[in-house]
Symmetry: C2
Subunit: 134 residues, 2 copies
Amino acid sequence: MIGRLNHVAIAVPDLKAATAVYRDTLGATVSPEEEQPEHGVSTVFIELPNTKIELLGVLGEGSPIAAFLERNPNGGIHHLCYEVPDIKEARDQLLKEGARVLGSGEPKIGAHGKPVLFLHPKDFCGTLVELEEA
Amino acid sequence: MIGRLNHVAIAVPDLKAATAVYRDTLGATVSPEEEQPEHGVSTVFIELPNTKIELLGVLGEGSPIAAFLERNPNGGIHHLCYEVPDIKEARDQLLKEGARVLGSGEPKIGAHGKPVLFLHPKDFCGTLVELEEA
């Protein structure tokens, strides 16, 4: 079912400082910062030859990464995103296998403009998994 | 400096159960389990089209992932591994930038038979970073 690793998301307390670490210390190519008010985050993408790292900073009140950053004040890896060819087919198969899909179970439009779903960390080795329709 | 994301490592309390999640629930291609006594872990690789997920299970006493699993009993993402063309050149440049290299600072031979180094999580957005000479 799962295909490419679309991205690894890292939540960070200071998006500008984290961007500088990847751009200046690690010498990677970074995208401009983008505010995503409908997702409560600002994003910077680190463009690697085979995949992307998504740096996530808090935007506004009630950001979905605020509680994670309280538990991980230096930042940390927030989720992995795998591509699937058909998100509803993937969801139905996962539910049949007994895996838990977060929220309403209906795909939402994610930060890349494509349908996404999140899966329960306890069912996937303690990692939050995002599925994105490729 | 950094190139491809070589792998994402996930430490898990039960390697066989985690392998089944990736093989059966997520439908991915998994490698046979391999014991790496010199690293204190057993490994299974999930082969994705563009990169790998490395599942790490405890092997023997004093495993380097034992403390992590005590803090994260369901498992969790342990580190990210980026490829670099020359590991000693990368290390020297990172030290010049003020980043901390773990251990003696001398590259060791990692689980793939290539020289590796680990960088301090506090200097890299709260994530443990492995560099591997490509």
